[in-house]
């Protein structure tokens, strides 16, 4: 068999060697040769309805599996539409490879039809990007892209491929190795630092574990559990880290931060040792920095050296891969256990009593009403059906916070949301990626009525792929989180937040060929959700909830995290524009 083939075919060979079984994309003029080669290739291509959603779907696939998600777009508008998805993956450290077509090499820079400077535009929203200038470079670049995306701190990598590179013919010789001399990976962790960290952990009277998305990226949930158990310390998981420690674990306290629980935030404030694992001290977690954990020493483990000291200077940094470092930490803790574990046992008991006291004082409990569906009630019901086992995707906003507060996740990679970037319209397309990756899992896509309308075109993708996603709309008729801020901080002057026109969910779903329903009575909620779950195909459930519920607890922007607003009187609309 001759190994003479086109660049497009060569690209498919490389994707095959990287184990890519599915990609999400949208064809166009300059990617025609690639799609033509795909015609006779086993790789599965999912045609989305907007390129942004191709990237979100790839991200959902990656978040659900840990494998690299792949998306594809044409030059110009196709590539620029990917940008939001790339930044989202960048912020949440998600391994995505984006392939974009570019105009023919000799037209680059000539303002050709559908030309955009994709390489320049995406430089700052990717971990790394490439412009392929000759077919000879293509195979190595593709393997480099997958390697860079999936190793170290994962992230998106974009490869921009001119049309003539797709069309050029060349002899394909599989690349046996790649060389990135400047790509430094530090994974093992410094053994002296690890030993000192173990010592600090036993010396602490009020240790507190703060685990984040890095644990999930590292696949180190089991190792985290061992650390939590040997130390018997309370543990919080950030929004990105939910599921890294099972929500049902007795040491799990909940999520800290702006809409975190009282106990989590009080714990963070009063601890004398923060054990920060795969986190980046996000402003939504820390609140006002000079009031954040004022009495605490900090141990910070991260694979990315640039995260160390970015926000809070740690007393003990460890740069390394949690999967490799945590077992060493556990071992060091075990070695020191006989001599050190007893010295603070009285303090530890008192600390647990205090944390449990905070939990009892202001527990995170859903609110119910007999006349209206409260949003918390909706999340509570989804949680009951999920039992900590379903994949749940979300956008950003009130529904995201309520979902994070009330839905349990017993495993990593179940909670999929746009954490760092906070992109609306993320939930539905990321559910497509997650359901493609995990065809046998129950997948809930939860959106607000705002975010859902940003992603509506993907109903077609869901229908055409026959994906049994349970699409739940938490419909309060408002851009709820923006309205919440207008109420609380802008004198209730509601400007451009009312979503007063929403399609009939049943008709909308039916027009795509699947079932849908709108409910607004609490008595119907359980049965409606059950009907959605029982349906073998997709289901669109529009849940009309109380319009003016706000997310609490809440740390006002710029506030200290122990200065939470725990609840507010039901506000009244005084004006809308």
């Amino acid at each position: 068999m001759s190994n003479l083939m086109s660049g497009a075919r060569m690209l498919l060979e490389c994707l095959g060697r990287e184990g890519v079984d599915v990609m999400f994309g949208y064809p166009g003029g300059v990617t025609l040769p690639f799609y033509d080669a795909m015609y006779e290739h086993p790789i599965r291509h999912v045609l989305v309805r907007h390129e942004e959603n191709a990237c979100f779907a790839a991200s959902g696939y990656a978040r659900a599996t840990g494998k690299v998600g792949v998306c594809c777009a044409t030059s110009g508008p196709g590539a620029t539409n990917l940008v939001t998805g790339l930044v989202d993956s960048m912020m949440d450290s998600i391994p995505v490879v984006a392939l974009t077509g570019q105009v023919t090499s000799k037209l680059i820079g000539s303002d050709a039809f559908q030309e955009a400077d994709t390489f320049g535009i995406t430089r700052s929203c990717t971990k790394h990007n490439y412009l392929v200038k000759s077919l000879a470079d293509l195979p190595a670049i593709i393997h480099e892209a997958f390697y860079v995306a999936s190793t170290g701190r994962p992230g998106p990598v974009l490869v921009d491929i001119p049309k003539d590179v797709f069309q050029a013919q060349g002899h394909y010789v599989p690349v046996s190795s790649i060389h990135l001399p400047g790509y430094k990976l530090v994974t093992e962790g410094h053994s002296g630092q690890i030993r000192r960290a173990a010592q600090m952990m036993w010396e602490a009277q009020r240790p507190f574990i703060y685990a984040g998305g890095g644990i999930i990226a590292a696949g180190a949930s089991e190792e985290l559990k061992q650390l939590v158990e040997i130390l018997d310390a309370p543990a919080v998981c950030t929004l990105m880290g939910l599921g890294s420690l099972s929500s049902s674990h007795p040491n799990f306290i909940s999520m800290p931060g702006m809409h975190g629980s009282y106990a989590a935030n009080m714990g963070m404030t009063h601890t004398d040792l923060i054990i920060a694992l795969g986190v980046r001290f996000d402003d939504r977690v820390t609140g006002r920095l000079n009031a954040f954990a004022p009495h605490a020493k900090v141990i910070h483990l991260d694979i990315d050296a640039a995260e160390i000291g970015k926000i809070r200077n740690p007393d003990l940094p460890i740069v390394g891969d949690a999967k490799k470092v945590l077992p060493k930490l556990v071992k060091a803790l075990e070695e020191l256990q006989p001599s050190m574990s007893e010295q603070n046992s009285a303090h530890r008991k008192a600390w647990w009593k205090q944390v449990r006291g905070w939990q009892e004082e202001h527990p995170l409990v859903p609110s119910f009403s007999t006349s209206e569906i409260r949003p918390q009630h909706l999340m509570h019901e989804i949680d009951r059906i999920s039992g900590g086992e379903a994949i749940v995707t979300s956008d950003v906003g009130q529904h995201q916070m309520w979902a994070a507060q009330f839905i349990r996740f017993h495993h990593p990679r179940l909670w999929i949301n746009s954490g760092g970037l906070g992109a609306m319209g993320f939930g539905l397309p990321s559910a497509i990626g997650a359901q493609m990756a995990c065809p046998d899992k129950l997948v809930f896509s939860i959106s607000g009525d705002g975010g859902f309308q940003m992603a509506i075109p993907e109903l077609a993708t869901i229908a055409s792929q026959g994906l049994p996603i349970k699409i739940i709309i938490m419909n309060n008729g408002y851009l709820g989180m923006v309205r919440q801020w207008q109420e609380l901080f802008y004198n209730n002057r509601m400007c451009s937040v009312q979503l007063d026109c929403f399609p009939d969910a049943e008709l909308l779903a039916r027009s795509y060929g699947f079932k849908g329903r709108t409910i607004d009575q609490p008595a119907d909620l359980t049965a409606a959700l059950q009907e959605a779950v029982n349906e073998p195909g997709p289901y669109l459930l529009n849940v009309k909830v109380t319009p003016f519920d706000n997310v609490f607890p809440m740390v006002p922007a710029g506030g200290a995290i122990n200065e939470m607003v725990l609840s507010a009187p039901q506000p009244v609309a005084v004006g809308t524009k």
Binding site: E18, G19, R123, H143, I178, H179, G182, K184, A218, A306
Partner: protein, 184 residues
């Protein structure tokens, strides 16, 4: 006060933008920038002069070291280093000042590279402060036109350069721990 960052990077399109982009994205102005090939033609050495507070500078240098194209980024501000800048200037000189200008140039170890009835073109090298003084002195003689190279610098400490070895690709690589950290 300008701080100096020295960056060893791959000589590839876009590499320069990645490095400078980290500063511009944070709203910092680059005061001066030099870049040229090293002995190894696949690499470039870049010297950046910036005015950034120490905490942020440390952060930015870490970010630079993270870039795939960057082999090493070092802050030369605190450690021992030598910095030099080159100035090329043209000074219009009236006849009565010509001798004085040549004397001044000599004091600064500057070299006349062109002489005409209009005046001189002079080349000088030295650290930034010295070059500032030189320019001030020359300005006192008449109209001048100045081009500065920006600083180049060399650290007086040997920094160990850690480079990653080649990595196998494809299915055979996957069986090892290449992406084993990712639940693959």
């Amino acid at each position: 006060m300008i701080q100096v960052i020295s960056v060893l990077l791959e000589n590839k399109p876009g590499a320069l933008m990645r490095v400078t982009g980290l500063l511009t994205a944070r709203g910092y102005n680059i005061e001066c920038l030099t870049v040229a090939r090293t002995l190894d033609p696949t690499l470039s050495r870049m010297t950046i002069g910036v005015d950034v507070e120490p905490h942020l500078r440390r952060q930015v240098i870490k970010q630079m070291n993270k870039l795939i194209n960057v082999l090493q980024a070092v802050d030369l501000t605190d450690g021992p280093s030598v910095t030099r800048e080159m100035v090329l200037l043209r000074v219009r000189a009236a006849m009565e000042h010509r001798t004085a200008i040549l004397k001044e140039a000599e004091i600064f170890s500057a070299r006349v590279v062109d002489s005409s009835t209009e005046g001189f073109a002079i080349e000088a090298t030295g650290d930034t402060e010295k070059m500032d003084e030189f320019i001030d002195v020359m300005r006192s003689y008449g109209e001048i036109e100045v081009t500065r190279s920006g600083v180049v610098a060399v650290s007086l400490e040997a920094k160990k350069l850690r480079l990653s070895p080649p990595i196998p690709t494809g299915a055979e690589a996957k069986s090892k721990d290449r992406i084993g950290v990712l639940n693959a």
